[in-house]
């Protein structure tokens, strides 16, 4: 009898536990089917040719059709070496002290046109990206060539194995390979074809691209991950007008916002209108910064550059320009949004990051030492891109500079001319935005601070910094590398190489029934949509 009572008690307790804790788990079981309507802020600039652009407007709608060798786990918020999972590479192994990366590819993977995927496709893609002398194809624009300067050769010993031979150890090569910017192209498809169509191995196949209107994908029934994707389709709807985009989200005509587009204020208004909307603040991995042309006076003088850096009250800028929707940080995204960010104590000790009451007098003193006085004021032309987010920031900076005696006039440069102006150095000082693919020092420093890099708009070139960049890149001990990156961040701000002002936050909005669409600490890496499902 007591045994029976015990059994009944066990059943009752079990049921109670299932009711208490089990129900949410049951409701979180992914459901298959349905289509997501997703916001696209402009038509695809270069179709699906991710390798030929550096814009989220291409990466976001093209990612579902393609695959990488490896990818940041879409279900984890944080991107790091520990959250990298295999895609086309089933597993990988570092050999010879991180000098050789051996990737073992999945078998039975097919391109959307039915051709088999092999190591030949991988070698083709990465030889093309690094512009190897014997590369079988060439990209007409290759913005991330610098990511692969450390790759010496790529070997494909058999159809399912690829070896990246490196010139020196570089553990974080995997970080670049895991970025949304690093899909594998098909060797049998000319790279130019990706501008108009998408032959990938990805979870979704291109159904239709109606120019200026929408891009529609359908589920890839032959996808190599069984049971994925959950969704039957995706529709990226081009909505150029910001007000219409907000109205579309509010009315439910679209289910997901465009990454990097929703400000704090807009998110608050949307949440007020539709309380059930899911809003997730996260770092875009995009920063506001000041570029100063070091090839020309007056900014070839480190004191003048440092004065500019000290003049700008970064915290006030975050409030005034971003209404609190940004965070102050140095050249790597600050914690908790970024992995490499400096501690508050270290950050506040950097020039320009202290109290404005202390910083501005020191800025004036530096200017005086450089020969700038009220009798001999410094007049400069500050350029920026003719887009509101740039102009707002530039206007704030001009006001700050005025307070230390620098008279800056604003010159807006049309988008068509902006990068040409910056790359050629046809400017004195500029207010700029920089987006970084993965949250990794290699992806940032080689591209934006290395001597001779086309995106090093300030023409900053320092032998010691180059050594520090190389050193941290090949450091195998994570703790030591973290310390080296911290020292590098300090050095760059001390030199006012490209003073960082803030790191922008996005308030990613989607309907509550959209599950598993988790923003990472970079807008460029979470658009695969393989794990996303509708709880409806």
């Amino acid at each position: 009898m007591s045994r029976r009572r015990a059994t009944i008690s066990f059943v009752v307790v079990s049921l109670a536990l299932v009711i208490a804790f089990g129900t949410p788990a049951i409701s979180q079981t992914p459901k298959a089917g349905g289509t997501l309507n997703i916001t696209q802020r402009e038509d695809l600039p270069q179709g699906f040719a991710i390798h030929e652009t550096s814009t989220i407007s291409t990466v976001w709608p093209a990612m579902p059709c393609l695959n990488n060798l490896v990818l940041f786990d879409p279900l984890k918020k944080t991107e790091s070496l520990d959250t990298i999972i295999g895609e086309l590479a089933e597993k990988w192994s570092w050999q010879d002290s991180y000098r050789n990366l051996v990737l073992f590819l999945r078998k039975g993977v097919k391109w959307h046109d039915g051709q088999p995927f092999t190591s030949k496709d991988v070698k083709y893609t990465f030889d093309m990206l690094r512009e190897a002398p014997d590369a079988p194809a060439k990209l007409r624009i290759n913005p991330r060539k610098d990511w692969y300067t450390n790759v010496q050769t790529i070997e494909a010993p058999d159809p399912h194995t690829v070896i990246f031979h490196l010139k020196r150890p570089q553990p974080s090569l995997l970080m670049m390979l895991a970025s949304g910017y690093t899909p594998v192209y098909a060797a049998h498809v000319p790279p130019a074809n990706y501008r108009t169509a998408c032959i990938g191995t990805g979870p979704f196949k291109l159904k239709e691209w109606r120019k200026g209107e929408f891009v529609e994908f359908v589920k890839n029934p032959d996808y190599f991950v069984k049971g994925r994707p959950y969704l039957d389709g995706l529709k990226y709807i081009v909505i150029a007008e910001r007000g219409t985009r907000t109205a579309a989200l509010q009315s439910g005509a679209v289910d997901v916002a465009f990454p990097g587009e929703t400000t704090k204020t807009a998110a608050e208004q949307l949440k007020k209108a539709v309380p059930e909307l899911a809003v997730t603040p996260y770092s875009q991995n995009v920063n506001d910064n000041i570029i100063m042309n070091m090839k020309k006076p007056p900014f070839n003088n480190a004191k003048v550059r440092l004065a500019v850096s000290r003049a700008i009250d970064r915290r006030a800028l975050v409030q005034a320009v971003h209404q609190g929707g940004a965070v102050v940080g140095a050249s790597m995204a600050p914690k908790p949004h970024g992995f490499w960010g400096l501690l508050d104590r270290d950050l506040n000790a950097l020039p320009g990051y202290g109290k404005p009451a202390d910083e501005k007098p020191r800025a004036k003193q530096l200017l005086a030492e450089a020969g700038v006085t009220p009798q001999n004021p410094l007049k400069v032309e500050l350029v920026t891109r003719a887009i509101a987010v740039y102009v707002d920031m530039a206007s704030f900076v001009i006001n700050e500079l005025k307070q230390i005696g620098i008279e800056a006039s604003l010159k807006q440069i049309e988008t068509a001319q902006w990068h040409a102006t910056a790359t050629r150095g046809d400017y004195q000082i500029g207010a700029n935005l920089t987006g970084i693919g993965p949250d990794d020092p290699d992806a940032n420093y080689f591209e934006n601070y290395a001597c001779g890099s086309p995106r090093n708009y300030s023409f900053y070139c320092d032998e010691q910094v180059m050594k520090m960049i190389e050193q941290q890149s090949q450091e195998l001990d994570p703790k030591k590398r973290f310390a080296q990156v911290a020292a590098l961040q300090k050095k760059l701000e001390d030199d006012a190489a490209r003073p960082l002002l803030d790191w922008k936050l996005d308030y990613f909005v989607h309907r509550p029934f959209v599950k598993n669409l988790i923003p990472h600490q970079s807008i460029y890496n979470f658009g695969r949509m393989q794990e996303v499902w509708r709880d409806k």
Binding site: E42, D43, P45, Q46, G47, E52, T53, S54, T55, S57, T58, R140, I141, N142, P143, A192, R195, T196, R210, K211, G212, E213, F214, K235, I237, V238, I239, A240, E241, G243, T244, A247, A248, Q250, S251, G252, A253, V254, A273, E414, T415, A416, Q417, W418, H419, A420, T423, R424, P454, R455
Partner: protein, 317 residues
């Protein structure tokens, strides 16, 4: 009549040639080109790569050769290739044309249906309360930009109904109801503004005609008000109204940029702005030529209509 039409068509061809030279030149005077934009999306510029792309697109050739090439393409019905999309320009332009024409025609219908009767009522009931109300409404229409009205309509729909019109183009053959709704709201927004202009022109023109001797004679003969107004007065007052309608229609073909953007309609004007920003010369040049042709043809049509409406108008040498 035939010689008049032939003469007008001859002038039209000359106008189009002049137009082509103007648009070709202006586009090349604007700073930057497609290659700058392409590099802009990549975040850097490389001069040698830039030259290679210019060559690939044929933009390294002398301007006059590029111009003649474009003229040859038009004459052979081949509009070239879109620089941005890397597909034939005609493939890009073709779906835009019906959208804009439909929106312009519907807007004009709304404008005429609203504008002409209210203009007549306003003239006939001059200086009454009704006249003042209608004049205020028309003034509001003129003062209110249609894109603003469009955005207010959309926000109102979202706030009160939790609904907005379809965001992608719905073909009438797919879903006629959705198609009708998609076009009705922007047509109302644009048509209201145009109706205000038509109403004011109708009113002033009718007031002028109503003071003519033959109208007084008609009244004296004891003819009914309906006959005097609609048969005698309006027929003579309508010529300037027709002129305005023609001008408005021509304007709408290229002037619906913001309305198409706000309502997310894939029309000519919205696409033209994007093509200009991208310096997509083949698309811009051919779209501008299309707009020019519509303007010329609508003007010709209005001139032809004069002869039908007013027997005193005669054409020819």
């Amino acid at each position: 009549m035939k010689s008049y039409v032939a003469q007008r068509l001859g002038i039209a061809i000359l106008t189009l040639v002049g137009m082509s030279i103007v648009i070709f030149t202006l586009l090349r005077l604007a700073p930057g080109d497609i290659v700058d934009i392409l590099f802009s999306t990549a975040g850097y510029v490389n001069e040698s790569e830039k030259q290679a792309i210019l060559k690939e697109l044929g933009m390294d050739r002398p301007y006059w050769i590029q111009y003649l090439d474009w003229m040859r393409q038009i004459l052979t019905g081949d509009l070239g290739k879109s620089y941005r999309y890397d597909v034939p320009a005609w493939e890009v332009i073709r779906p835009l044309v019906p959208v804009t024409i439909e929106l312009a025609v519907l807007s004009i219908i709304v404008a005429v249906v609203l504008g002409v009767p209210t203009g007549v009522i306003s003239a006939v009931r001059q200086d009454t309360t009704l006249d003042y109300v209608l004049r205020v409404l028309s003034l509001a229409g003129l003062s209110m930009p249609s894109f603003w009205l469009g955005m207010v309509i959309i926000l109102g729909m979202v706030s009160w109904l939790g609904w907005i019109p379809p965001l992608t183009y719905v073909k009438p053959t797919e879903n006629f109801r959705a198609h009708a709704i998609q076009f009705a709201l922007p047509a109302l927004a644009v048509g209201y503004r145009s109706s205000a202009l038509i109403m004011r022109i109708t009113r002033s023109s009718l007031l002028e005609v109503m003071r003519e001797d033959y109208i007084r004679t008609a009244w004296a003969k004891g003819q009914a008000e309906r006959v005097v107004i609609w048969h005698h007065a309006l027929k003579n007052a309508i010529l300037p109204v027709v002129t305005v309608i023609g001008i408005e229609f021509a304007f709408l073909i290229g002037g619906l940029v913001v309305t198409e953007t706000v309502f997310n309609l894939p029309g000519v004007a919205r696409f033209l702005v994007q093509a200009i920003l991208w310096r997509d010369y083949p698309i811009v040049q051919n779209l501008v030529m299309f707009i020019a042709i519509v303007v010329i043809l609508s003007n010709l049509f209005v001139d032809m209509l004069y002869g039908v409406l007013d027997p005193r108008v005669r054409y020819g040498g």
